[in-house]
């Protein structure tokens, strides 16, 4: 399977930013500082279970539910 990580990252950023470009940049920065580079993943990126687990943990702390973003794929 591929593309789940990209969908999860997009879901976090969109839910957090709610259309505010400043918060969009800020959220991407926070992900980078937590070791997840949003630009390193695309729709073809493999679903690395370790990365998926890391992003799930970040999403839980940020209060951004991922189910919708994951199901879209």
């Amino acid at each position: 399977m591929a593309g789940q990580i990209k969908r999860m990252i997009d879901a976090i950023i969109e839910q957090r930013a709610k259309g505010d470009p400043l918060i969009r940049i800020m959220t991407k920065s926070k992900l980078l500082l937590r070791g997840v580079d949003p630009d390193r993943f695309n729709r073809n990126s493999a679903d690395d279970p370790q990365v998926v687990a890391t992003i799930r943990a970040i999403a839980a702390e940020l209060g951004t539910p991922l189910e919708l973003g994951e199901e879209k794929g």
């Binding site: 800020m26 959220t27 500082l33 937590r34 940020l62 209060g63």
Partner: protein, 367 residues
């Protein structure tokens, strides 16, 4: 004057009266101060709060201070915020950093004070200051918890102790704390800007952290090679000379084209211990030092042009930069950059902006 600044080198209790005599903005809403670790922390915090009973008074110990266009040591510097700048202020202490930082409890108190959840505050009108025990090693986790709970910017620094590396303190509402952080949340009348500036250029060489011990801020391997060997090869020296290159060649995590500097602290066997965390899988640029004074002056001038008027600024200035400036005998030149601006600052054991960073001037500017 909406913001006033002060400094003093007098002993307690005369110091507090001296600072207060320089507070020309009327009764302040908030007071921020940075103090040499030579001052007795509990007495200092208690006397500072007593001198300004109607204000939120917070601060921390330092490893050098900045005020009045000068870099100093052995002093206390203070900034006083009048009601023309700060509409409202509240301070909270996050204690027991060694366990999971209980930021949510502090945010609940802020919600009670501001009558709005911190997650819903206007991020263009509110800004937070974070001052944290600089020897706790918990700055990253603290900033992650803050950043999870709100999009309000929290900027600040890790407290110092004049390079003794024994105990650092943060001060809030009359008490001094260790193993703790102080959060000051401000609602501003005219807004703010944040300037993070560092004096490095990219070398074009990169290192991928392939094995790390995050909790110890240690990198065991870059590019699947022992960290020291990979780093030394990247900067072009034999491994035994790697440590001599740390100050001039830290590493940078690139965030939107800007390096978030991770400074190597020491060699430990074949690994390298850093002053802040590097996560497994992080791609890092090898940096090369440039001119701190010229770069900072240019950055401040650009910012002043963009903002028009600056009411005041706080400079969270990495101790590694201070040490370099002392070595180059350029402290006077650096301090002079802030002449004519109500400015204070201190030499930190790390700066806080979205995360924990090194070798920057992270500056909060008030409109």
């Amino acid at each position: 004057m909406p913001i006033a600044t002060a400094f003093s080198t007098k002993p307690l209790p005369d110091l507090v009266a001296d600072l207060k005599s320089q507070c020309i903005c009327g009764p302040p809403r908030a007071v921020v101060f940075f103090a040499s670790s030579h001052y007795e922390p509990q007495a200092l915090s208690q006397q500072m709060q007593a001198a300004f009973p109607g204000a939120c008074v917070v601060g921390c110990s330092s490893a050098g201070e900045i005020a009045a266009g000068r870099m100093m040591s052995g002093s206390v510097v203070a900034m006083f915020f009048g009601p023309d700048v700060v509409e409202d202020a509240a301070a909270e202490v996050v204690g027991d950093l060694e366990s999971e930082p209980r930021v949510a409890e502090a945010f609940a108190e802020f919600e009670r004070h501001f009558q709005t959840p911190v997650s819903q505050l206007d991020i263009r009108k509110h800004v937070g200051l974070v001052l944290v025990d600089g020897l706790s090693g918990r700055e990253e986790r603290l900033m992650e918890k803050i950043g999870s709970g709100t999009d309000v910017f929290f900027v600040g620094g890790a407290a110092g102790d004049d390079l003794r590396f024994q105990t650092t303190h943060v001060f809030a509402v009359g008490k001094a704390h260790t193993n703790a952080a102080v959060l000051l949340l401000l609602r501003l009348k005219r807004g703010f800007e944040i300037l993070k500036t560092q004096s490095f250029k990219l070398t074009g060489k990169r290192l991928l952290a392939t094995e790390v011990d995050e909790a110890r801020r240690q990198v065991l391997q870059f590019d699947r090679q022992p960290a020291v060997e990979a780093y030394a090869a990247a900067v072009g020296v034999p491994p035994e000379q790697a440590a001599a290159c740390f100050m001039r060649h830290p590493l940078g995590l690139m965030v939107h084209g800007e390096p978030f500097v991770r400074s190597p602290q020491r060699v430990d066997g074949l690994s390298i211990v850093f002053y802040c965390q590097i996560k497994q899988g992080m791609q890092l640029e090898v940096l090369e030092g440039t001119d701190i004074v010229a770069d900072t002056r240019a950055a401040i001038e650009r910012q002043m042009t963009a903002m028009g008027t600056i009411s005041g600024l706080i400079d969270f200035h990495c101790i590694l930069r201070t040490l370099q400036l002392r070595d180059e005998k350029r402290c006077d030149q650096y301090g002079a950059i802030f002449s004519g601006i109500p400015a204070i600052g201190f030499s930190t054991y790390g700066e806080e902006y979205l995360g924990h960073i090194n070798q920057t001037s992270t500056i909060l500017l008030f409109r």
